[in-house]
Structures are given as structure tokens and as C-alpha cells.
Amino acid sequence: MPNSQPNLPASLTGSLIRERRLALGLRQGDVAQAVGISASYLNLIEHNRRRVGAEVLARLAGVLGTETAILSEGAGGALIDDLRAAASTAPGIQPELDRIEDFAGRFPGWAAVLAAQHHRAAQLERAVGALNDRLTHDPHLSASLHEVLSALASVRSTAAILADTEDIEPDWRERFHQNLHQDSERLAAGAEALVAYLDGSDTAVDTGLAAPQEEVESWLAARGWQLAELEQPEGLAQLLAEVAGLASAAARSLAADFLRQAAAEAQLLPDTALRAALARGEDDPAVLAQRTGLSVLAVMRRIALLPGSVAGLVICDASGTLLFRKPVDGFALPRFGAACPLWPLFAALARPMLPLVERVEPAGRAARVFRTLSICETRLPQGFAGPELREAAMLILPDDAPRAAGAVLALGSSCRICPRGRCPARREPSILAEAGAAAGVQ
């Protein structure tokens, strides 16, 4: 008996059958006859009052010129998930969740519109989140704003002193005039840098983000740089579905490639094995690479992506372009423009497969020392006949050793926001005053 096989949900399937039949302009009685069931039984099926067995469904699919799966699921599974997700994001509204399948079946077009709107809203929310994140964390913007506000604070106080103090001594007046001049120049430079920054932000009209790489990194940052799901059976598929919601096609493609690579690396060095090795003090990426068959660069990526890891990581190609940036507190990484040429990453780039360990101190107000491990790896994807490709990586680890425990390389993030005035590697003037130098700290 057809209805003795209640293995397929009735509600949405019936509506899909009816929709398909009407779309083809077929009469209910003709279809029922072709399938070998009564018209009244087909009527009950179409109105979702009877479950349809697999055998009948297969015959219906044949008569209606479609696939069984389309009739039993259609876009339904995903569509209903989307509708449920849309319902959950509408505070104060209580949609009829018990009739969701009925709604999707009876009004598939409107349901699709609602689902599409939900996706678009989610995309826009992600873009807003990424922009907000940039405003909060972007070192260029934060440095430019701080510079402008500091200069402005000084100008405001100094100007008020000059305006309000009638009996000010000539020496003080002279001094405050000089301060005003200095701060006005500083203010102009800071404002110029801000304008340049904001002009550069206009390029990504579709997402509000400057680059696909930035969108991917925002997504990773929002996840706390953790991809623990990769070790679950369906983890990669889940994450691929998640990045399918990124705003730009380029970001989706970059993220998917990154996830596949990360999944392959996680298989060779799972979180638990890596965590155990690190707990034993076996934290040398080269040793771990030899043991696991991964490249040193891949092990560095595993260390940076280990849940709870405090390690930062930057990866660049042979042109020095940064391909990956996981930041670490106290070591600002440039969002755009070239990084500091003193980074050991670039020294490593010039000498493939030679490991480089360097203690570094990035310029900044809260000066901290980091231990960096850098290495460059080469590839010949087209054999001897093709070009040699290089990728260098720099793992950035907090360094708890006393500052005096060895040489420390003073470096920066990017020339434009670096206050080290006498740096031999400087490419262009900084927008920052030498506050550190004035305070006796460099």
C-alpha cells in the first residue's frame, strides 16, 4: 500500500507535486491515472493530507518529468532552514513555525524572497561588523585618529590659555605660540592621513570592505581564529557552507581554498596531538614538521590556528605582499601598504629554507618584546620549466624573557604610522610625532 510507507514527509512534498503538475498544465485525474492511483488519493497527497510512499513518488516524478529528490525535498530543506533562521532573527514577532512547510509549499516564490532577504541582511550585518572591527582595531585608523585627537587637545587647551590669560608672561606666550604652530602642523598631517585612509575605503562598494583578504580575515577574527570543526567528520562541509555567506565571490573563493588547506593540515597534525606536543615543550615548528610530514610553514599555521593560541602569524609571497595576517596584541599589522622592511619575514624571504629566530620590539606606546620564527619555502608547481614560487612566514610569539636577555631588533608596523624617526629603513615620513623620542623612549 502506498500510504503504508510513511517514510517521506507529506506536507511540503504534496505541495511540490501540485505545483509541478500545475506548472506543466496537467489535470489531476490524468496524472493519477498515469501513476496508477486514484484521483482522490492524489488529491489527498497534493493537499498534504497523506504521506507519499517512495514507489509512488518515483512514478509521480517520472510522469511529471522531474527527480524524486526535487519532489521530496525541492529547495525545501535548505529553504525551510533559511525560513527558520529568518524567523529566529525577528525579535518580537512570533511567526507560525508549525506552518512553515505549508507556507514554503504554497508560496515557494515568496518564501524564496524571504530567504534571500534574510541572506542579504546577514551579509550586510557581516560587512557592518567587519567595518566596526576595522574602526576598533585597524592600526592605521587608530593611529591617525589618536594623532589628530592629541594634536587637537593640545591646540584647544593652548589656544584657550592664550585667549583667556591676560597676564601671561612673555616667555610662556612665546612657548605656547610655538606649541600651537607645532600642533597645527601635526593636525594637518594627521587629517591628511585620515582623508587618504577614508578615500581608500571607497573602493569596495559591494561589501564595504577593502579587500577579499580582509573579508576572510574578518570572518576568521570573528571566530577567534579557530577552526576546531575541521576535525569533525562534517566539519569542512559546515565551514564551507559558512564561508559561502561571505559577501564577495573573491572572498568566498579565498576562504574555501584556505579551509581546504587547513583541513588537510589538521589531518596530519590534529589539535590534540599539537597541544600535547606543545605541552611537552616540543614547540619547534621544524621538528614538528619533520615528524608529521607537513611543511614548516604549515606547522606554523597549525600553531597560530590552535584554539586558544596567542601566536600571531604573517605570510607573504615573493613580492612581499602579505597573504595572511593573524594579529597579536602589541604587534600591529598593516591593513594596507607595505609592512616594515625590518621584519625578519623579509630577511627570510631572501634566503629560502634557512630558519631565522629573532627577538623584536615593535614601535608602540606599550612596548613589548616578541620572539619571531621565520622561514621561506619554495615551490615549483610547473616543474623545472616553470617559475619558482616563494612563500615566507613569520610566527610571532610573546617573549617572557627579560629585555636584557639578548639583542632585540627595533621595528615597526608600516612607515606611515611608525614613530621611529631615525630609522635607516624608513621609506616615507610618518604621520606620527616622535612621542616616544620626546618621552625618552625609542
Binding site: 574602526l135 576598533t136 587608530s142 585618529l145 589618536h146 585627537l149 592629541s150 587637537l152 587637545a153 593640545s154 591646540v155 584647544r156 587647551s157 593652548t158 584657550a160 590659555i161 583667556d164 590669560t165 610662556w172 612657548r175 605656547f176 606649541n179 607645532q182 600642533d183 608602540g364 606606546r365 606599550a366 612596548a367 612621542a435 616616544g436 620626546a438 618621552a439 625618552g440 623612549v441
Partner: protein, 122 residues
């Protein structure tokens, strides 16, 4: 009675302006340009008020505040934090750490004078 103020601010022109304003208002102002040695200076001078910039080279203003609040000798000392607009998260952290008052840059000289009077006369 003259209020003794310890100002820890790395921007020299802001520091100079604050020193001038408060000195004219009758305060005895000592200025430091970074956070290194700030705690020792506070313990040695035991001022009536500490004005502390949030972003300092060396040791951050937040770290200094936390250490002042952890020390029984200085835990009740009034501390005014200087913050810039856009440092909302840092400000929340300073609030939790026990700052007595916030002054957002750019500030008006009158507001600065009024806040210092309130904190040193209370």
C-alpha cells in the same frame, strides 16, 4: 591648602598646557613623560591627585591604575584618567579598574579645572 598633582602624560604640549592651567589655579604640579617609574613617584610623593594618560609609552595607564588600586597605600588615591574619543573599550576597562574620573581629549580648560577642584577638595 595647595593641592599636589602628579601628571603622567607623554604628549609634551598637552602636559605643558595642563601644568600651566593647574599651576595658575593654585596646584603644585609634577609631570612625568612616561609610565616607567610612575608607581615609585606616586608612592614617594603621595600626591592629592594623579592625572594619568591611558596610552603611555613604557607601562600603560591601565596597568599603572591597576597597580595603584592593588596597593593599600594608594588604593584610595583619586585618579583622573585622560582618554581620547574612540577609546571606549579601554575606558570601560579603566572604569572597572577603579578610575575616579575621566577627562576626554580634547577637553576644555574649565572642565579640567573644575574636575581637579572636585577631586582634590572632596
Amino acid at each position: 591648602m595647595t593641592a599636589r598633582v602628579l601628571l603622567i602624560e607623554d604628549e609634551p604640549n598637552i602636559s605643558e598646557a595642563i601644568r600651566f592651567i593647574l599651576s595658575r589655579d593654585g596646584c603644585d604640579v609634577t609631570a612625568l613623560a612616561d609610565g616607567t617609574g610612575a608607581l615609585d613617584a606616586v608612592r614617594a610623593a603621595m600626591p592629592d591627585l594623579v592625572i594619568l594618560d591611558l596610552m603611555l609609552p613604557g607601562v600603560s595607564g591601565l596597568d599603572i591604575l591597576a597597580q595603584l588600586r592593588a596597593d593599600p597605600q594608594t588604593q584610595a588615591l583619586p585618579v583622573m584618567m585622560l582618554t581620547a574619543k574612540g577609546q571606549g573599550r579601554d575606558r570601560e576597562a579603566a572604569e572597572r579598574a577603579g578610575a575616579s574620573h575621566f577627562m576626554t581629549k580634547p577637553f576644555s580648560n574649565d572642565d579640567m579645572r573644575a574636575a581637579v577642584r572636585a577631586l582634590t577638595q572632596g
